[in-house]
Point group: C2
Chain length 150, copies 2
């Protein structure tokens, strides 16, 4: 059972090739170190809106020398380069999300899960508003998810 779980985890992370990840970083002028590749790989393959600690706890098993500072550094760098979004939907800690397509986020206040909501909203297309230049748009929803409703 424990072994089966491990195999599944490996499969998920193996879906993304190191070459693809390396290109993603190099394109934006970020040198693809083991640590940076791992963090980006985690974000792309897991799609679970992780916190710094969640990423650290997971990758620490694969790379025992990894430090939390490096996870912080890497995520700040990826956000800076526009590869990753910092979500501020949950108070007290920042969550991270690989930028694929614009979508809203829903936080279930009962189970704490965060869901991607694929709504086609005008907000995501607005780039200027009364002289304001909009660079980033986040839609954060909170409530009770369908699993917790019953």
């Amino acid at each position: 059972m424990a072994q089966e779980k491990k195999v599944t985890e490996e499969k998920i992370t193996e879906n993304v090739s190191t070459e693809y990840l390396g290109n993603l970083l190099s394109e934006r002028g970020v040198k693809p170190s083991i640590q940076r590749l791992s963090v980006l790989k985690y974000l792309i393959s897991k799609k679970n809106h992780p916190s710094v600690d969640v990423i650290y706890q997971y990758l620490h098993k694969e790379i025992p020398t990894l430090s939390k500072t490096t996870v912080y550094n890497t995520l700040n760098l990826l956000v800076d380069k526009g590869i990753v979004t910092a979500l501020s939907i949950k108070e007290g800690e920042v969550l991270y999300d690989f930028i694929e397509y614009p979508h809203a986020h829903f936080l279930c206040t009962k189970c704490g899960n965060i869901y991607d909501i694929k709504i086609d909203n005008q907000i995501f297309n607005i780039k200027t508003f009364e002289g304001f230049h909009i660079e980033e748009s986040q839609i954060n929803l909170r409530g009770i998810c369908s699993n917790c409703k019953n």
Copy 2:
């Protein structure tokens, strides 16, 4: 000049009657103490999306015995009772906003100012989505404001 500023500040806060504030609190089962009335009065009259510290620094002048813990307690209570919204648009600290009508928030990443954006968005009207019960919708925009653009 300093005196003129003080007069202006007093005028602003005097716009909201203590009776109105007291009713707002009592209606939701919150006992209207001096501290709670002051925090709510500040939020309603200033409309400046303050942090805990901004509120504390201001009210501390009027009520020297006020503690920051009480400001925290009060704001958590007001959010709990649905009187106030906790904004998570700025990383590192939570900002507060009196709930009047649904609107988006814009954070200028240059000057740090937060603006209310009165957009009429469908998002604010959606209460259910694929079995999800939506209780709160926040739209957070980031970019450069018209003042900083030049």
